[in-house]
Amino acid sequence: MNLIVNGVEREIESAPLTTLLDVLREELDVTSPKAGCEQGGCGACTVLVDGEPQRACLTAVGVVDGAEITTAEGLGTPDDLSPIQQAFTHHYAAQCGFCTAGMMLAAEAYVRRGGTDDREAIQEALAGHVCRCTGYVKIIDAVAAVARGDSFDLTVTAPSQGMTNLGGVS
């Protein structure tokens, strides 16, 4: 079997029923997909399989033989961040970072298929991705910004749309 992982063709030695998550993490040392629940419930293992978001923990590698796999490592590099990566940085959408890779790939697929900045549509696209730190507002801000085509200043982070302004009250 083989996979094209982030543009590089890799031969796979694991057995066909090994999960795609184990193949990526344990055989290929691609560690951004996380083993959050290994039951398809949290979204932290999500990767793009031929452009579609898929739970790597529930995908047998034999089923995706020959597919193109995209992980966070393949979106962009520190010197050349993709728009989603820039937006997550600027909008402060990653806190502990453990859900971030899966969240970004679901967002990437949403934007690629022409998703708009409609917050409910973004929520629908990210359903099943669990974040316990940020409370989702900033994540949705980031995805909406990319859908709108915003440009980003990475030397600062942006205020959140969900924040209540308590300023001026004493």
Binding site: T31, C37, L81, F88, A94, C96, F98, T100, R132
Partner: protein
């Protein structure tokens, strides 16, 4: 001071979005063994006949760990604060909660370790568990902890955390009404996306390198060193990258056991809990039982509070005495009540031990107090915003443990809340600030509790 008020990028933001942050599970050391645990299937039982010989003989198994392998079996998580030890690292002859670890296997892979755990022989003799804090004091309740059913080692060997301030009798005599309520927030699992995980690596120089997801690096270092009975300089603990903690990774859940298995096997050892283990066996926020009786005047002053708190510690003490202490200091919430009679108990049950979680010990009382103040407003037919503003902590008021407030935020927060809800406050309330009490806001019953903010 350039950073104050500025929106700076996160120091780890670029690493996070490029998938390059190295969490414990991402550390790669050749030859790493996997760990699986034999855990108690019962809430409460004694056991005998623990037999690991089959597991030890299985191909691919490199080490099996039981209580006999632990140099110091019991060590308290908060020994530094004088809370004595009560929890064995691995169960010796009894289990006190479902999921309590009894034995561990380190093997070539996860499946082999799990198969080896299944071969371990053990016989349980189940006991009646205690699962409800309200039953702990009953004469016919099972005694489930050698110390008794509640923690007896507060200062001066008191069996409760107690606060007395002013005269509760006088407050109840003067009251126009007594408003009572019982509040019982449930246990909450932290659910970090990264489950408990540790990698312990034996080094050629005789030291152990411990990759840990702990939130409390130096606590964990001390706990591991104590159980292993080695000096701190034999341990190098690598942490700081935590895939969500929220208090649940303050406990030293995996580091000590991985270290012992690494010593015993001479191999790197990794233990990553499954999501099921995380839900069933990791510590939670405590469930609480709180009873409040407030003496109130018909114009909305809270004159006194009598309160009983039962803090469910689960099977062992861990950090709960500290959590209850914080709870007691905050037991009037964001409001100033001059006459107090508070008793709080850390109660043992056969539930998973409970621990810190965001606002340890304090969110429970915030929930109870806010609900209760609204209840008082309902009973008296008063405005819920105005009763809050009237009793709000002000500069110069004192907390239950007599800390003087210098910049209490109740007034601005309640006013912002009213504004956000579109509620129009009466002129005297919308003009309020957090400053010192005077005039109508300084009735006789609040004079004695005042202190000078300069004494803070």
């Amino acid at each position: 001071m350039k950073a104050v008020g500025a929106r700076l990028p996160r120091y780890d933001g670029i690493e996070h979005v490029t998938g390059r942050t190295t969490y414990v599970d991402d550390v790669r050391v050749p030859g790493t063994l996997w760990v699986k645990a034999l855990r108690s299937p019962m809430h409460s039982a004694t056991f005998s006949g623990l037999d690991t010989t089959k597991a030890e003989a299985m191909p691919g198994v490199h080490a099996v760990l039981t209580w006999e392998d632990v140099p110091l079996l019991e060590y308290g998580h908060l020994s530094a604060l004088g809370i004595p030890a009560d929890e064995p690292l691995l169960a010796k002859d009894e289990v006190r909660y479902k999921g309590q670890p009894i034995a561990l296997v380190a093997a070539e892979d996860e499946d082999t370790a799990a198969a080896a755990v299944d071969t371990i022989g053990i016989e349980f003799d189940e006991r009646e568990p205690l699962l409800d804090v309200r039953r702990a004091f009953d004469a016919d309740a099972p005694t489930i902890h050698p110390w008794g059913n509640w923690y007896p080692h507060f200062e001066n060997e008191m069996d409760r955390r107690q606060i007395r301030k002013g005269s509760i009798e006088e407050a109840f005599e003067k009251a126009d009404a007594i408003v009572q309520g019982v509040y019982r927030p449930a246990a909450i699992e932290h659910v970090p996306l990264e489950t408990q995980v540790c990698l312990a690596v034996p080094e050629a120089n005789g030291r152990l390198t411990i990759y840990s997801c702990t939130q409390a690096l130096y606590f964990s270092l001390g706990v591991v060193a104590a159980h292993l009975q080695v000096p701190l300089n034999k341990l190098k603990i690598v942490g700081g990258t935590v895939g969500g903690g929220f208090g649940g990774k303050v406990d030293t859940a995996t580091e000590t056991m991985c270290s012992l298995l690494a010593q015993k096997s001479g191999r790197p050892v990794k233990w990553r809990w499954t999501r099921e283990e995380e839900f069933l066996c990791s510590s939670t926020r405590a469930p609480w039982h709180m009873e409040i009786a407030d003496a109130v005047s018909k114009d909305g002053w809270i004159l006194g509070r009598k309160m009983l708190t039962l803090h469910d510690s689960g099977a062992y003490a861990r950090f709960s005495p500290y959590g209850l202490t914080k709870h007691s200091f905050h037991h009037t919430g964001a409001y100033t009540i001059p006459n107090l009679h508070f008793d709080g108990y850390v109660v043992f049950t056969n539930r998973v031990p409970t621990t810190a979680m965001r606002g340890f010990g304090v969110t429970s009382i915030s929930f109870a107090t806010e609900t209760h103040v609204s209840r008082i407003a309902n009973v008296l037919g008063l405005d819920p915003y105005e009763i809050r503003l009237k009793n709000a902590n002000r500069v110069g008021d004192t907390s239950p443990n007599r800390i003087v407030y210098t910049d209490p935020s109740t007034v601005p927060v309640v006013k912002a809340l009213a504004g956000g809800m579109g509620v129009e406050l009466a002129a005297e309330y919308s003009a309020m600030d957090r400053g010192k009490r005077e005039g109508d806001l300084l009735p006789a019953h609040l004079v004695e509790q005042l202190a000078d903010p300069e004494d803070h």
